[in-house]
């Protein structure tokens, strides 16, 4: 589904990623763990095309996308849910969804289908995105990404500052999306419980490199994970 090889990128002359390689098969969810400043968000932004890659390759369904601008990657099947959610504050919930559908040239009915999967948003449709709570915005951000009909979803710290009920909803929703749509997910997260609940395996990113791979079984054991994060 996605194959990343030796990917490097950074900000100006400061390189943040020094050769990341990872793969995810269709329908799987790969978690990416790591402390702040290790390059997690940079990795997702580079995959999305918001930061140019300085080396390496990104293959999406066999197609090289590392030279494409962000908007063409979105149309090629990448959905992006950024850290901080980045909802359009002045657009209503409905318009946030319509925006994504129009941008990816999806039919308007896609927004309605997505709303069936996110019933919480139904009563908020005419509210400006900026007036929603953090949790509601997070659901909207995921729903909005789905309106572009992605096949790979990039999720950047979806549980940050979110109430537990929404975290539970997200766990259930990500599982359903993988099951029903065969959606592949790259998930950057610091919340171990969440990663354990949704990911098949996790990669530890340290100083811009993949430090270790943690199997799903090990994710449930905090002591083991602490050891990984400590050593690697």
């Amino acid at each position: 589904m996605i194959r990343i090889r030796d990917l490097s990128s950074g900000y100006g002359r400061i390189e943040v990623l020094h050769g990341i390689s990872l793969e995810a098969a269709r329908g799987t969810c790969v978690g990416i763990l790591g402390h702040n400043g290790m390059g997690k968000t940079t990795l997702l932004k580079t995959v999305m095309g918001l930061i140019p890659a300085t080396g390496g390759s990104i293959e999406l369904e066999g197609r090289a996308v590392e030279r494409l601008p962000a908007h063409l990657r979105a149309r090629a099947g990448l959905g992006y849910v950024p850290q901080g959610r980045q909802i359009f504050p002045g657009l209503t919930v409905r318009d946030n969804l319509r925006f994504a559908a129009i941008a990816c040239r999806a039919p308007a009915s896609v927004a309605d289908q997505v709303l069936d999967e996110f019933p919480e948003l139904g009563r908020l449709l005419d509210r400006p995105g900026g007036t929603l709570s953090g949790g509601e915005q997070q659901l909207l951000a995921v729903a909005r990404a789905l309106c572009g009909r992605p096949r790979l979803l990039l999720l950047d710290e979806p549980t940050e500052g979110i109430q537990p009920s929404i975290v539970a909803a997200l766990v259930e929703r990500v599982a359903a999306l993988r099951r029903d749509r065969g959606l592949t997910v790259l998930l950057v997260e610091q919340n171990l419980d969440f990663i354990h609940a949704v990911a098949d395996r996790a990669l530890l990113i340290q100083r811009g490199r993949i430090g270790a791979e943690i199997a799903r079984e090990a994710l449930g054991d905090p002591a083991l994970v602490a050891e990984f994060i400590g050593v690697a």
Partner: protein
């Protein structure tokens, strides 16, 4: 009663004129934060496009309402491509570049057409209001202002392209990540702003006279209107035009045209002292 109505009509015409000359600037500034110092010259080019077409035998309405916006829109698209595209987000640099463009356009037009005033007359007669006469062209301008304002609102609010433009202006990076090319949206917005300015220039040409330097007469007023209006581009331009247009027309009516202009400037300065974010920084914040 007749006098009151005649004065009212005068005021409404003043407001409409201000709105017409400011709207193109407001679109470019409000949507993209680009301060276009060549706005006055876009007006001037619109006026020249109209007058040249009329002299070539084209119907005057076609020349004003169709040719002028298309020509200036095309010029705007070219300007965006060569001059503005690399400078987004650099306010000072865009100001310098568009100021240079302004001087260059004045120079080029003077070279080609000379610096004498030409003009074409208002293509409508006058109407009688009791014992007073008023130009029907004023009425036409009021109608044009309403159509322009409602049209811009409708495009932004009701069309898919308008939705994409509004979202991209709020968060260009996120828009790109969702599948929108921000560069294309900027180019289209700048072109639309230029086309509106071109139309505006043609609309004011019948009473302003057409000279290469005519833009300098209007750019200050357009800027004051946009600044006084504040962040909400349409509500701001409308409310500022209504206020400043009324003040200057009434000031002119009761004193002299020069004093009327001075009174308008004083009001604008006071207003910006009291409301540094402009009218819509305080009122109608959620409007477009």
């Amino acid at each position: 009663m007749d006098l009151a109505f005649a004065v009212f009509l005068q005021v409404a015409t003043g407001v409409a004129t201000l709105l017409i000359i400011s709207l193109g600037l407001a679109v470019i500034f409000g949507m993209m934060r680009v301060i276009n110092l060549a706005h006055g010259e876009f007006l001037m080019l619109g006026a020249y496009s109209a007058i040249i077409s009329v002299r070539a035998g084209l119907n005057i309405w076609l020349a004003m309402l169709v040719v002028a916006p298309i020509v200036v829109g095309a010029i705007g698209a070219a300007v965006e491509r060569v001059l503005i595209r690399g400078l987004y987000g650099r306010v000072l640099d865009t100001m310098l570049a568009t100021w240079g463009l302004s001087l260059a356009l004045i120079g080029i037009v003077t070279m080609i057409f000379g610096d004498s005033v030409s003009g074409f007359s208002a293509p409508l007669g006058s109407i009688a209001i009791g014992g007073y006469r008023s130009s029907s062209y004023g009425l036409f301008l009021i109608g044009a202002a309403i159509v322009l304002l409602c049209g811009t609102w409708a495009v932004l609010r009701l069309t898919p392209a308008g939705l994409i433009a509004r979202g991209t202006m709020q968060n260009a990076e996120m828009a790109a990540a969702l599948g929108v090319s921000p560069g294309r949206v900027y180019a289209a917005t700048f072109t639309a702003g230029a086309a509106i300015s071109g139309l505006a220039g043609a609309l004011i040409a019948p009473f302003s006279g057409v000279v290469p330097t005519m833009g300098t007469l209007y750019i200050a007023r357009a800027f004051i209107t946009v600044l006084t209006g504040g962040a909400a581009m349409l509500a701001g331009t409308l409310s500022a035009s209504a206020l400043l247009g009324s003040v200057s027309t009434l000031g002119t009516y009761f004193t002299t045209p020069v004093l009327g202009e001075v009174i308008m400037l004083v009001v604008a300065v006071l207003l910006l002292r009291l409301l540094p974010q402009g009218i819509t920084g305080r009122f109608f914040r959620r409007a477009l």
